[in-house]
């Protein structure tokens, strides 16, 4: 029995190590002085300095955050509303909406991306709308994010005691007041988790952005991808290390916050 759990320990720690191998290697190599290739030739902060002076990177950071912020805002509003309304749909509507939400979550993003490209180019031909750029990227990202937000909010709502809403109504709160004073504060943690998920999805997305991007609307993943394609890696290492550091800090904060909320 003892050896068996020992093996489990060993295997699991090794697997965790495996998960962290890429993260560690990127951070380590971001300090490598070699310009081309991966041979170690000394410690340097040169690449971080180069990043700060690189306008393309700064613009990509700005675009990425703007895109993530705007798409998160829209998808959180829409997704939350849908998550709230979904359980009060008629059964058939609920079933179909469930499927409509599930599909974008598991569908390879490239299918969604090319379908959007077709839509955009056809509509553009007739109306001139949907010039590729930030606008179309926001549209694409919102489409990806809505189902995630809606499902998170809905699951939070499932744990919501409906007698609270009735009690509030009974105490003189109109439907809107019930939502604003009772339902909303109670599902707020769920909404925030959904919004954070949406934000991360947007930061993480490469494929949708790649297909719907336009002039001057390059994001960090697009920048990283094209740099990797071109074989320019030291700056990418430094950039990736920064992105990873941000993600880790964000998750740790989120985990701590969530523990407090759940209490």
């Amino acid at each position: 029995m003892k050896t068996r759990s020992g093996t489990l320990h060993g295997v699991s720690v090794a697997l965790l190590g495996f998960l962290y191998l890429p993260i560690v290697v990127v951070i380590v190599y971001s300090f490598n002085a070699t310009r081309h290739g991966v041979a170690w030739s000394g410690f340097t902060l040169e690449w971080y300095r180069a990043l700060l002076g690189n306008d393309l990177v700064l613009a990509a950071v700005r675009n990425t955050l703007w895109l993530a912020g705007a798409s998160t805002l829209i998808s959180t509003v829409l997704g939350t509303l849908l998550g709230c309304g979904l359980d009060r749909f008629r059964p058939a509507g609920r079933r179909w909406c469930g499927r409509l939400l599930q599909l974008p979550m598991v569908m390879p993003d490239i299918v969604m991306a090319v379908a959007l490209v077709i839509l955009f180019s056809l509509v553009r031909r007739w109306t001139g709308w949907f010039q590729l750029g930030m606008g179309t990227m926001v549209l694409a990202h919102v489409t990806l994010e809505i189902p995630f937000v809606a499902i998170v909010v809905r699951s939070r709502l499932a744990g919501f005691d409906s007698s609270l809403a009735e009690a509030a109504q009974d105490l003189g709160a109109s439907r809107f007041q019930v939502f604003w004073w009772i339902t909303f504060p109670l599902i707020l943690p769920g909404i925030l988790v959904g919004a954070l998920l949406a934000f991360t999805l947007s930061l993480d997305d490469f494929v949708l952005s790649f297909f719907t991007t336009g002039p001057g609307a390059s994001t960090l993943p697009i920048f990283i991808y094209s740099s990797v394609k071109r074989g320019i890696t030291p700056e990418v290492n430094a950039l990736s290390a920064i992105v990873i550091a941000f993600s880790i800090v964000a998750i740790v904060i989120l985990t701590l916050l969530q523990r407090r909320w759940l209490r």
Partner: protein
């Protein structure tokens, strides 16, 4: 007679194929403590929710005061509810919970604080003001829920099994307090419960419900002493139900024949039972007299054999067989002990005619 606080006229509600409430008419007077009593699933909570506006009747009229309100949404009705689960808002402390209703009605801050303080005093929870509901015990939550409702000074306070989740001792204590709060405020209380004892203790009047119908509305005493149906007789405490056939009508009542023998019953004059009609008698066990003291009397007197006895503290229940029937008698325990009734002994028992109730079904 002044306008009733609540009046229901032929109110019905069905959920799918289930008739939850059918054709209920009822009026509750101002200042009255009224209980809706019935087994679970009898429609009493639905009826209460229709008064609160949380359900809409399929048909019928709900009047609050003199206004028809069946189409008014819950938040515009001058009633408040204490929910069975209390439904305290977990993200607010006790004080904000209580102030919620006043805030929704935009009562000015100063007045609001005054009234909240008074309500907390009334239910004696002043020291809990800053706590969250999750930090309260069951009894404390119940008080908060009560305060949250009465602070709005509703015309009618609805209580949906308010004490159901508490243990027996606490329940008894809170029953007393609930009654005293109601007397102090002079508010109309409509209270839903499945606990007959609670209903008897608290209520001025009780409405007994069965399968969506209101079967009897009477004062607590009358509903216990004068049940109108087998259901009413059985639901409120133990009762002997005896099949009988009417043999004769006299000026003071009926003479009926039972499996024990002939029995006199003081029947209400309205009861239209002819000779030969079948009926059911209800006789409360504690109304039965027995033993030495009654020997000299005539009528309604039978002999029986003790079959079983059980001691329950203040009373001792004795089951006797008399003729073809089995019968329950409840005696104060001290009397039973004095009589030293052993199983198998023969005893005499008697029912005063005024204690024999002839049921309508």
């Amino acid at each position: 007679m002044s306008t009733p606080a609540v009046e229901l006229r032929a109110v019905s509600k069905r959920f799918g194929e289930v008739r939850a409430v059918s054709e209920v008419s009822l009026s509750v007077q101002k200042g009255e403590f009224f209980s809706l009593l019935g087994p679970s699933g009898c429609g009493k909570s639905t009826l209460l929710r229709m008064i609160a506006g949380l359900e809409w009747p399929d048909s019928g009229v709900v009047c609050l005061g003199s206004t028809e309100m069946h189409a008014t949404p819950a938040h515009l009705r001058p009633v408040n509810t204490v929910f069975q689960s209390y439904a305290l808002f977990p993200h607010m402390n006790v004080e904000t919970n209580i102030a919620f209703g006043l805030r929704m009605k935009r009562v000015p801050r100063g007045v609001r604080e005054d009234r909240v303080a008074r309500a907390m005093e009334t239910v004696r929870i002043v020291e809990l003001a800053g706590r969250r509901p999750s930090e309260l015990s069951g009894g404390q939550r119940q008080r908060v829920a009560l305060a949250r409702a009465i602070v709005n000074e509703p015309e009618v306070l609805l209580l949906d099994e308010p004490l159901g989740a508490l243990d027996l001792q606490l329940r008894k204590q809170l029953q007393v307090e609930l009654k005293s709060v109601q007397r102090k405020l002079g508010m109309t209380f409509i209270h839903v419960t499945h606990d007959q004892e609670e209903a008897l203790v608290l209520s001025d009047r009780i409405g007994l419900m069965q399968a969506g119908r209101l079967v009897q509305v009477d004062s607590a005493e009358r509903i216990y002493e004068r049940p109108r149906s087998r259901f009413a007789a059985r639901f409120l405490g133990a009762c002997n139900l005896v099949d009988a056939v009417v043999r004769a009508r006299g000026p003071g009542g009926l003479q009926v024949e039972t499996s024990f023998g002939l029995m006199n019953a003081a029947a209400a004059p309205s009861l239209a039972l002819g000779e030969g009609a079948r009926c059911t008698l209800a006789i409360r066990p504690e109304r039965v007299e027995w033993g030495l003291g009654i020997e000299g009397e005539r009528g309604n007197q039978f002999s029986a054999v003790v079959e079983e006895r059980s001691y329950t503290g203040p009373r001792t229940h004795i089951w006797v067989r008399s003729g073809a029937g089995r019968f329950q008698i409840a005696l104060p325990s001290h009397a039973a002990n004095r009589a030293a009734l052993g199983i198998g002994e023969e005893v005499l028992w008697r029912v005063p005619p005024e204690s024999v109730v002839i049921l309508e079904d």
